[in-house]
């Protein structure tokens, strides 16, 4: 079985589509449970500050050694560290390059204070078939079989 099931967070004005995974980052020797916002507007899968702290990552120390990459968004540009990760869903395991940050402490604190969620982006979502059907309370993703 290669299907991932998510849910909608109902307490928001416009309910958010969410999926959970245990994210393992072998290079840093850490893993943590993460609730991702399914975001077809995000090109990349991003681990944002609330979850970065759960991994036990100190952003200042990490930024000094990270391989940074800059992305643009509605809030401007931000740099993120690039890490190979393993995403463990209940029925699916996937290798994925993830992005940790923002690396700038001011942007990190801002995103933390705004409780910005981690994002599951198109780098993952384009590997299969995503159904977002709020009316029928269905959020599912089926991985494309490896060739």
């Amino acid at each position: 079985m290669s299907q991932i099931n998510g849910r909608f967070r109902e307490q928001e004005p416009l309910p958010s589509p969410l999926v959970t995974a245990v994210v393992e980052i072998p290079n840093l020797g850490v893993s943590a449970s993460v609730e991702f916002l399914v975001d077809t507007g995000a090109a990349r899968t991003v681990i944002h500050p609330g979850d970065v702290l759960k991994f036990g990552i100190d952003i200042v120390t990490y930024a000094a050694h990270a391989c940074p990459r800059t992305f643009s968004g509605v809030g401007g540009e931000a740099s993120y560290g690039v890490e190979d990760a393993i995403l463990h869903f209940k029925n699916v395991k996937a290798n994925l390059r993830t992005f940790i940050g923002p690396l700038d402490p001011c942007q990190f604190d801002f995103a933390l204070n705004k409780n910005v969620p981690s994002l599951l982006g198109r780098d993952f979502l384009n590997q299969g078939r995503l159904i977002v059907d709020y009316e029928n309370n269905e959020l599912s993703f089926e991985m494309r079989p490896a060739i």
């Binding site: 967070r9 245990v22 850490v30 449970s33 609730e35 204070n113």
Partner: protein
Amino acid sequence: MATEQQDVAAVLEQFEKDRRYIESHWDELLDQHLGRWVVVYGEELVGEGATLPDALDEARPKCAIENAAVEFITDEPRNMLL
């Protein structure tokens, strides 16, 4: 550290219960922890603080914080453009 896939289902099941706990107890959390971070594990509040590091420090002796649910309790609607 390698995560065993057979353990993942149990970890995620608990994590999802803890996420739902926050949502189902939202009004209570608003009354008692407005403007603060909370940490929930095993469907219990195990930490809270003005900052997330403070809340995690309080929770650390009581649970595996890497698998806990964390949330900033606010009465402002979450309307984000990401």
